[in-house]
């Protein structure tokens, strides 16, 4: 959760400075975004360094390119041509500049530019992650609210028990179990692949065909189940916490309807931590898609990555690494901005804020 530090307000003093009202909210907001952007760039450079190191330290790139009978002179010539004799900073800078333009070189195995491979595979992974994320949110949040409001109901207890299973079973096992039940025994849903896809420009989508949607169900449940149980438990815990606060008690004492209190006042206050965790989890959904994609033979970036590891296809590995990091950073940035949108106390650079009740 290190990435969050930038979003936290500075230490809160009990003294209140009323001058803060006059501060245009926009200025602090822009300063905040700029600060986060700079941090993001630093994170990306670090990841790029790891990706770059893969080339030089996992095998020899020249060896990977040429045949066994290439002479030492040719090898030296190639080394010189590729710029591999340049000083480290120059090579790294070249890597970063190319990476920034989405140029990661040629895949050793496929013999095609890595970015083409990724672009081809990206829609499958992104659609799967989106479906899994939506499943986790649309099921997890209502279940969390329900279990918090009806703490003693038998249905709540059932949800919590099931969620425990969701948290403790590993993803691949859930995938295999789902395949066994819904594909093998019941025969309702396909066990692998994306089904029929429709090409829209460079984007291939499974959302538009019945077949594609059916193929999406099992993998997205598999991928989203862990996040769903996590979100459910998080929403529940936060909601219970908020329901105990004075402002909820005071809202009730003012005779506001249960609906207004629970959904208007309590739910919005639970959203700040939920958004944070959900955002971070969305990044890991994309990253962990590797396992689900392997189980369901889903033709996405994760599967590409696993295959790249088997063949020591370093350009693909490096590109995937950088891409996943980029998505994480991007999502984090969006989360931090959402944070500020939801919580007015962060809008004015953290003035006051003692009333959080947290």
């Amino acid at each position: 959760m290190r990435g969050l530090s930038g979003a936290m307000p500075p230490p809160i003093g009990s003294a209140h400075r009323p001058r803060r009202w006059d501060l245009p909210a926009g200025t602090a907001m822009i300063a905040f975004i700029v600060r986060r952007l700079i941090q993001s760039v630093l994170v990306m450079l670090t990841v790029a360094l790891v990706g770059f190191a893969l080339f030089n330290y996992v095998g020899d790139p020249v060896n990977n390119l040429v045949g066994q009978d290439t002479s030492m002179e040719d090898r030296a010539q190639l080394r010189e041509d590729l710029g591999l004799n340049d000083p480290f900073p120059v090579q790294f800078a070249r890597f970063v500049v190319n990476a920034a333009q989405a140029d990661f070189g040629i895949s050793y195995r496929h013999g095609r530019p890595v970015e083409d491979l990724l672009i081809e595979r990206a829609p499958a992974t992104l659609e799967l992650s989106l479906a899994a994320g939506l499943f986790a949110l649309l099921v997890g949040v209502p279940m969390g609210i329900y279990t918090a409001l009806n703490r003693r109901g038998w249905l709540s207890k059932a949800f919590l028990t099931i969620s425990l299973i969701g948290v403790s079973l590993p993803t691949f096992l859930i995938g295999i179990l789902l395949i066994l039940i819904f594909a093998v025994w019941l025969g309702w849903l396909p066990s692998f692949g994306r089904g029929t896809t429709v090409q829209i420009g460079w984007w291939s989508t499974g959302f538009l065909t019945w077949d594609g949607l059916k193929a999406l169900i099992l993998p997205s449940i598999t991928l989203g189940l862990f996040q769903m149980t996590l979100i459910m438990r998080l929403v529940r815990a936060e909601m219970l916490e908020v329901l105990r606060t004075d402002y909820i008690k005071f809202a009730r004492a003012r005779g506001l309807s249960a609906r207004a209190v629970n959904f208007g006042h309590a739910l919005k206050n639970t959203l700040v931590p939920v958004i944070t965790i959900t955002g971070l989890q969305l990044g890991s959904v994309i990253a962990f898609a590797i396992i689900t994609e392997t189980v369901f033979q889903w033709p996405g970036m994760g599967l590409l990555f696993i295959q790249a590891i088997e063949f020591v296809d370093i350009p693909v590995m490096a590109a995937y690494l950088v891409l996943v990091a980029f998505l994480f950073v991007l999502i984090n940035l969006i989360v931090d901005i959402l944070y500020v949108v939801v919580d007015p106390r962060l809008r004015v650079g953290g003035g006051g804020g003692a009333g959080g009740g947290h």
């Binding site: 009323p18 606060t245 005779g255 206050n269 106390r345």
Partner: protein, 332 residues
């Protein structure tokens, strides 16, 4: 005398726990008349807040009203469903809580919280509600109220927030406000402002107040009548002047003796020996007898009822018809 606005009779509040049933409020009775400020004093755990919570139907579960009656304007309000109670809360009984820093939802503007409350109880358009919200903020003395309507709670100081809380309690012009330690969390200088504000508003709106506090100073300044609670039971109730200057109950007497005065300074502050018994270990008879300098056999054996000794009444055997205090008092 006029019909009381609120009449609490023999109220019992219990908390079933693993170790048995705790009785937090035990047979408390009092009246509040229209426009009157009733101070409720007592130590922590004496049942003051639980009495207030029971009246507005907001006892924390598993707490529940185990007996007695609560009658508001001639209508019983204990035992109403949550939905029926909701129409009483805010509309007929407003509430002000202890900590203004945590009483307001940090994510909504003050104006939104006001209009939401107004529109819940009164049939008003958004515009009319906003106009009323502005009026309320002006009334509670928020400077530049028009500009502050769209400010968030964290942009107000503690004292200002408590003013907003009072405005919120007044939204639907309730007949009674239950103020649970409204000044405890505030600076001393702000405390006086808030109490006098509360007092002024209630005079203007003819709203009664149940002022729960442990601060005798606040009571003496603000209240018309006082109820003294001890160990979940009513020890004494009467007009503020009588309770403060001519206390009947030995506990009240002790309490008053503890207030330091500026003109004669004792080397040590007076205190009542011992401490209030916990709810799990309530003694038989009078709850105060282990600490009472006047305790006798009957106090240990039998719980005293409330003896009327106009203008006050006290739950103490000394004031029964055969008690010893009756004579002293007449002589004094």
């Amino acid at each position: 005398m006029t019909e009381p606005l609120l009449s609490v009779r023999d109220l019992r509040v219990q908390f079933p726990t693993r170790r048995g049933v705790l009785t937090a409020v035990d047979g408390v009775s009092f009246d509040i008349h229209p426009g009157e400020i009733l101070g409720v004093v007592g130590e922590s755990g004496a049942g003051k807040s639980q009495t207030g919570a029971a009246i507005i139907g907001l006892l924390e579960p598993p707490g529940r009203i185990a007996g007695g009656r609560i009658i508001l304007e001639g209508q019983r309000i204990d035992g109403l469903t949550q939905e029926q109670l909701r129409k009483v809360r805010g509309r007929k009984i407003g509430a002000v809580f202890q900590d203004p820093l945590t009483s307001l939802n940090p994510l909504y503007t003050v104006g939104r919280q006001l209009t939401e409350t107004i529109r819940t109880h009164l049939d008003m358009s958004e515009r009319a509600a906003r106009a009323r919200a502005l009026e309320l903020l002006q009334e509670v003395g928020i400077p530049g109220a028009a500009d502050r309507l769209d400010a968030y709670p964290h942009q107000f100081s503690g004292g200002m927030r408590q003013r907003v809380v009072i405005a919120l309690a007044l939204c639907a012009n309730p007949r009674l406000i239950i103020a649970d330690e409204p000044t405890t969390a505030l600076d001393v200088s702000i405390q006086a402002q808030i109490t006098s504000l509360l007092k002024r508003l209630c005079r203007e709106h003819d709203t009664a107040v149940m002022l729960i506090t442990h601060d005798m100073g606040v009571i003496a300044e603000t209240a018309d009548r006082v109820a003294v609670l001890y160990g979940g039971r009513l020890a004494e109730v009467g007009p503020v002047d009588d309770v403060v200057n001519r206390p009947l109950h030995p506990y009240t007497e002790g309490l008053m003796a503890c207030i330091p005065t500026t003109h004669d300074r004792p080397p040590r502050l007076a205190q009542i020996e011992g401490s209030m018994p916990s709810l799990t270990a309530m003694p038989d008879g009078c709850a105060f007898h282990p600490r009472c300098p006047h305790a006798h056999d009957r106090c240990v054996a039998e719980r005293p009822p409330l003896f009327d000794h106009a203008p006050s009444s006290a739950a103490c055997w000394l004031w029964s018809s055969e008690g010893t205090r009756t004579l002293e008092r007449t002589r004094a």
